[in-house]
Symmetry: C2
Subunit: 338 residues, 2 copies
DNA sequence: CATCCCAAGGCGAACGTTCGCCTATGCTGT
DNA sequence: ACAGCATAGGCGAACGTTCGCCTTGGGATG
């Protein structure tokens, strides 16, 4: 364990340590005999290269930093897995920093990543989307890409088409004849929730329907939030026949609340989720939802980042991945006479 | 961005670079005036310490390596979050490696972590629990702890009490009068699944009930697996009145299958899950399950690892956290006349 | 007035690499 | 027999730190 270095291998093989370096990296001109001797010596004393020293000298740490929202939820976890896999394919390691819910420690962790000389940074921390300081650091620091908006811009974006995320479900419900379509949103402050709300509104308008704020409730992205929001919604607007829920986790709560209220899904009320969470296929009833290619988005983020690293001057070309509807059993035609 | 170093700061403040190092680390004796000058200089040219160089010199990278199974599932994700939070509290960064389902790339990633001179390694990769090579590397490498068995032993274990994980649910169902209790397991090869099966068997025996292999089905830890397993179970043993499911994700599939078969839960058939997945509180009906403190286990793993690092000779003291039942609406007394 | 001491800061070395250039050796050709 | 040359491998420097010891100079002390 007392770290053996190139020098130790060199001593054992009777060559200079630089020659060992060459052999182990397959570089210089070395006789097969010497090469063999060196490789054996390295093996015998259990040489393990020191990536720290290598990075110091080569000015590249082969490391990506990821700053992410709490990923005990499936959605950000899938992003992360996608990132990690793709990074690995390219021989890069990933340093992970997960943030407090309010994102207040983001600046600190950005600094840590910069001290560690990561080759690039991937952000998935919507809580910091308004934070000017974060934007400044990101623009000044190593190449970066983000899965959400960055204050002040200048950081390329990788993400999922927000248009479809909200428009597909609403159009689907409209086509089924629904007219009183409620919505359970994620945190209202989040740009993504705001965007979906705007699209919801716009699609309704396009179909000549009014936007009624009474039909919109905040579910805070969580199961319990969805549950509570649905109860509030039913108290306030009993006439609704469909609910669009901005993520599947909340939709689980929504289904439960509807069940408690004796509203059959989809007969009395249709529900559309978003995310295509693994559980959505077997909720009761199975959930019609929007499939979001999170793994792919993570992988795409890494690829975009690598491009940025390769040519620092590249124009920041955003990457937007399409989403698609998954039709299951939680939606049906609007009940007669509504 | 062209990395400014201690030397650059030193030049600007008219001192030697070693003095700058001292000041920035609050070490040597330096006049307030000089100190001030140095700090300002550092600020002005945007000095960021190079953690790589620091680690090289100090022989400590302040980094933990984590090797984990795919964490797009909530359970391993919670472990990871627990690990990351606790590591951060101690000023450590986490390098993440997630494995292929078969764990075949574990050895490769262990090597990467060792090259990067991580201060310790945390394993959560049950797929490798039989892998001798992994055991060897772990014993030879930096201090490590594991959340599962390691072939050949010698690595301290952190985990959740497996006794209660299976015994609590079975005893609960027995107390409700159930006699034909089926079980949906995770991957049969996994030690944790085997242990739970053994406990299931033992508790039944203690209550004078036979162990019937026809009542046990493999659900492969996934929603769909639980769904399919339940259909097989009902085809084969229609008389069952309760099912213990080794995780909540599979339980979602189980509930759905029971619903499809027209078996009311809990009136016709009780279901107990395991994990206390966020979704379990709002399945239909809400799921009685075993709460597992995964976050805490992750944090405990880090603390144990730090102890190991501090005193390498410490006897490997396993840490086992207790689990507890959460009673919800998916269990009830066995139907009359069974 | 010589001595001693202490505070402030300089300096060399080391951590483990990679890189580019230099040297020694032995072989070819005439 | 000797110039010329390719080839194997050595060597110095650099990457950016930290650490411990050394030097300098000024003020207190006898």
């Amino acid at each position: 364990m007392a770290s053996v270095s190139l020098r130790d291998v060199a001593a054992r093989a009777n060559v200079s340590f630089q020659t060992v370096s060459k052999v182990l990296n397959g570089k210089g001109n070395v006789t097969p005999a010497t090469r063999q001797r060196i490789i054996e010596a390295a093996e015998e004393i259990g040489y393990i290269p020191n990536a720290l020293a290598r990075s110091l000298q080569s000015r590249s740490s082969l490391t990506l930093g990821v700053i992410t929202v709490d990923f005990s939820n499936t959605t950000p976890a899938q992003f992360l897995v996608g990132i990690e896999r793709e990074a690995r394919r390219h021989g890069l390691s990933v340093i992970l920093s997960s943030l407090e819910p309010d994102g207040s420690d983001c600046v600190r962790y950005l600094r840590v990543l910069m001290e560690r000389r990561v080759d690039g940074i991937i952000m998935n921390a919507p809580a910091t989307e308004e934070d000017e300081e974060v934007g400044r650091l990101l623009r000044a620091g190593p190449p970066s890409v983000s899965l959400h908006d960055i204050a002040g811009g200048g950081v390329p974006f990788v993400g999922l088409e927000s248009e479809g995320t909200a428009a597909f479900p609403i159009r689907h419900l409209l086509a089924l004849g629904h007219r009183r379509i409620a919505m359970v949103t994620g945190f209202r402050q989040r740009h993504s929730a705001q965007r979906r709300t705007a699209i919801y509104r716009q699609v309704l308008t396009e179909h000549g329907l009014p936007y009624d704020p009474l039909l919109v409730e905040d579910g805070e992205w969580e199961v319990e939030g969805g549950y509570a929001a649905t109860h509030r919604l039913l108290d306030r607007a009993p006439g609704i026949t469909a609910i669009y829920v901005q993520n599947d986790l909340m939709a689980v709560g929504v289904l439960n609340a509807l069940h408690e209220r004796g509203r059959r899904v989809p007969d009395d009320c249709s529900v559309v989720g978003c995310d295509d969470h693994p559980v959505a296929a077997r909720t009761i009833p199975p959930l019609t939802t929007v499939h979001m290619p999170f793994f792919d988005a993570g992988a795409a983020a890494v690829r975009l980042l690598l491009e940025r690293i390769a040519s620092r001057s590249t124009p920041p070309n955003d990457v937007i991945l399409p989403v698609s509807m998954v039709y299951r059993a939680s939606t049906a035609s609007a009940p007669e006479g509504t």
